[in-house]
Amino acid sequence: MQLHRSWLFISSLLVVPCFCTATVGLRISILRLSSIPAVRVEMEAYSHLSIGLLLFSVMLCGHLSQGLQRFSELNNSLILEYVAQNGTKAGEGTISVTWKLDTAAVSAADAAAADYKNVHVKLCFGAISQVDRAWRKTNDLLSKDKTCPYEMGAQPFTPEGGSITWTVTKEIPFAFYFIRAYVTNTAKEKIAYGQTSNKQRTTNLFTIEPITGRHASLDIAAAVFSAFSVISLFGFYLGEKRFIKKG
């Protein structure tokens, strides 16, 4: 596949300079030209650079295994219902979701034949909260899609359906949300979905109230450290002035 070939090419492009710098560094160490510290610093930097390049190429190779599935290819075969208050508090509030198979779209037999294995329920950003925030962008390629970052729960698939209740965790930011459930097969690929909002992700949104992350103890600690910094500076300055006048 084209994508994989280009990644191989790129990784090899990185491994080659990496080995070059490593061998140059080794040669220099063998020749022992290290009377000039600048050269020695460069030698160490060569080895750091080559290690960095190696790690980077390894990381790139890891991305060889990205899928090429698209959201538009999935079947909308689940019906979702949810209960969530506007302004549900992170850390305390709960959201309950009930899902079941939409037999009008896909019959139970077809679902079994298509290998509907698990259902993953996710919390997703509404379109309003994606404006000016490229890190939440919707992309048709599922591997690059960032619409639904938070997993609420996973259950095995049954045609009768199921439900989950999820306590909102503390890393959820303030935003307008909807809920989407993906159906995955045995190979863990997404094959179907259902969501509580419309296709443009503009209807039926609810908000979550996040934690601030601020604590009184943090504020006090910040104030104490700041005061220490300023006072010790002026203390030293005035102290030295007096010391010199005396001396």
Binding site: A38, D132, A134, K144, L218, F225
Partner: protein, 577 residues
């Protein structure tokens, strides 16, 4: 050795040539010496130590002081040859070190070296500490892309003003206090990050932290006061380069600290990042305290003590600033530095998003690749300074100017190429080469700056440093804010602008050393002394305020390159090889 009296009869300075070995503790050829060896300049020109007397307001007392000083020095020297020398590094007539030993912390030179680069490193880390934690911060405070971009610009904008002020402050209270004041007074801004809850608060906090980037000026000023002309380029390049690592180090270290608070210590993510911000703040305070306790302004002592003893010249603010502003070289180098260092800051801000958007790398990978650009500083900036010093030995100041122009222009060409490529592998390779040349150019610039002026060194360093960050702001505003340009077009246009803004360097001309395209003037008035004394008026010279400049002028004789013949130190009789 021959005695020589100065041409200028007003100075009443006694000079005496002596053998170079008196003040050394170890000879350069000692086994296991880890110091950096430059080809010995002793054969290039006679090594002289001179005694001069700084002014006191009372001109009548000068002759008395002069003799006292002379006698003092005489007995000191007799002691020297029997017991320990005062400095552990070889020094020139101003007690500035002529060699550098990286693994020593000896007073005062190497100690100042390590204190200054570390305090600047701490400030760089604080300024860019928020950047790798942005994915968490933008969720906590609900930031938009504009908020993040504005905060990024603000983080470098604060330093424009503070660098200008810092130059003047260094000249007045000395680099030690200037550094300590800056570092300790911006630490509260770092701690305040733990309490921000709105986009506006985040922006103000980053703006105030950005003030601390003016430690650059104190660093360069301190190094120019501690190390002599032959080695100042390398030293300035090393300190600035290793300090610029702070930007790259922040991208590595801050996520590690954040994860430490998050997992073993089981804090919520929105709390963990706030705790993580305490670490750079505490490092900053610690470095400030170390500078106060362990540092020393000049090899001879601290500014205040020297002022009290009457050894340090009191100068007037307005004159210092006047001579800095009217010197055209200041502005040419401010522009050029804006397009070497300023470009580095711009790239630090935009390159991570460039890899994320154009090549679809995940966020942490983009961060790692982006940090490579900043981490190249460990070798490239010191290398630029070293190259500047190396070319100065052969070609003098002309060599330094050519080195700067060549490396910055090649950097600009690589930048142009960076925007044109669309394959990830070649882009990374080109980025690495671009970083090497751009950062080497920044290092080479500060090989030249100590020679522009002696009187206004602090203000000039500050102005040029401010020009650096101003270039960053300007470039970001022109090329990376408007929706008219895509990022890659912006990068290519930036490359063209780098080449154009480097052209004015061709116009730099020192009468005694020449310029890029013109050789030095053959007139009898083209001497180092005349150049540095032109900043002092007749009245000031009568008061003896210019004596430090005179000493400095002698030590810059090496900027003539290899043209100097050994025996003649009289400027009028210089013969050209």
């Amino acid at each position: 050795m021959a005695k020589r009296s100065s041409n200028n009869l007003d100075t009443a300075v006694l000079r005496e040539s002596r053998s170079p070995d008196v003040k050394f503790m170890k000879s350069p050829e000692a086994a296991g010496d880890q110091g950096m060896e430059l080809p010995d300049q002793a054969s290039g020109y006679a090594h002289r130590t001179s005694y001069s007397v700084a002014s006191s307001e009372n001109t009548v007392s000068i002759p008395n002081l002069q003799f006292k000083q002379f006698e003092q020095e005489q007995s000191e020297l007799e002691d020297d040859s029997e017991s320990e020398a005062p400095f552990s590094l070889p020094v020139d007539s101003e007690n500035k070190a002529k060699k550098i030993k990286f693994f020593s912390a000896a007073k005062p030179h190497m100690r100042a070296f390590h204190l200054s680069w570390f305090s600047f490193f701490a400030c760089f880390m604080s300024s860019f500490a928020a950047a790798p934690l942005l994915p968490v911060i933008r969720d906590n405070i609900d930031l938009t892309k504009q908020d993040i971009g504005n905060a990024g610009t603000a983080s470098v904008a604060g330093s424009v003003l503070s660098r200008l002020i810092m130059g003047a402050l260094c000249d007045i209270v000395g680099p030690r206090y200037a550094c300590a004041f800056l570092v300790m007074l911006t630490a509260p801004a770092v701690f305040s990050m733990a309490s921000v809850s709105t986009a506006a608060g985040f922006l103000v906090s980053r703006f105030c932290i950005g003030f601390s980037l003016a430690t650059f000026v104190t660093c360069q000023y301190w190094m120019s006061s501690m190390f002599s002309a032959e080695i100042v380029g390398t030293v300035n390049g090393c300190t600035a380069g290793w300090a610029n690592l702070g930007g790259g180090a922040a991208l590595f270290i801050m996520p590690l600290i954040y994860h430490l608070f998050q997992h073993p210590l089981a804090c919520d993510s929105f709390v963990a990042w706030r705790l993580a911000m305490f670490v750079p703040g505490m490092v900053q305070v610690a470095s400030g305290l170390m500078v106060l306790y362990l540092g020393q302004d000049l090899p001879d002592g601290n500014f205040r003590e020297l002022k009290e003893k009457g050894k340090q010249v009191k100068d007037s603010w307005s004159k210092v600033i006047f001579y800095a502003i009217t010197n055209s070289k200041t502005w040419v180098f401010a522009l050029a530095y804006g397009y070497s260092f300023g470009i580095e800051l711009t790239i630090d801000n935009i390159i991570s998003q460039y890899f994320y958007d154009r090549f679809s790398l995940p966020l942490h990978t983009s961060g790692v690749v982006a940090s490579v650009f900043g981490l190249m500083n460990i070798i490239s900036r010191p290398f630029g300074g070293f190259l500047s010093d190396w070319s100065a030995q052969r070609l003098g100041m002309r060599g330094r100017l050519w080195t700067l122009w060549i490396s910055q222009t090649i950097g600009g060409l690589f930048c142009f190429l960076l925007g044109r490529l669309d394959q990830l592998g070649p882009v990374i390779v080109v980025m690495v080469f671009f970083s090497i040349f751009a950062e080497a150019a920044a290092g080479a610039t500060f090989g030249i700056i100590p020679f522009i002026s002696r009187r206004s060194l602090g203000v000039i360093s500050g102005t040029i440093g401010a020009g650096g960050t101003f270039g960053a702001i300007l470039t970001q505003l022109i090329f990376f804010t408007s929706p008219a340009y895509s990022t890659e077009t912006g990068i290519s246009l930036m490359g063209i602008m780098i080449v154009c803004c480097t052209v004015p360097i061709m116009g730099i001309y020192f009468p005694q050393w020449g310029g890029m395209l013109w050789p030095p003037s053959k007139s009898r008035n083209a001497t180092e002394e005349k150049y540095y004394l032109s900043e002092w008026s007749k009245e000031e010279q009568e008061k003896g305020m210019h004596l430090a400049s005179l000493k400095f002028a002698e030590n810059t004789r090496g900027e003539r390159g290899r043209r100097i013949t050994p025996s003649t130190t009289n400027a009028c009789a210089v013969t050209y090889a």
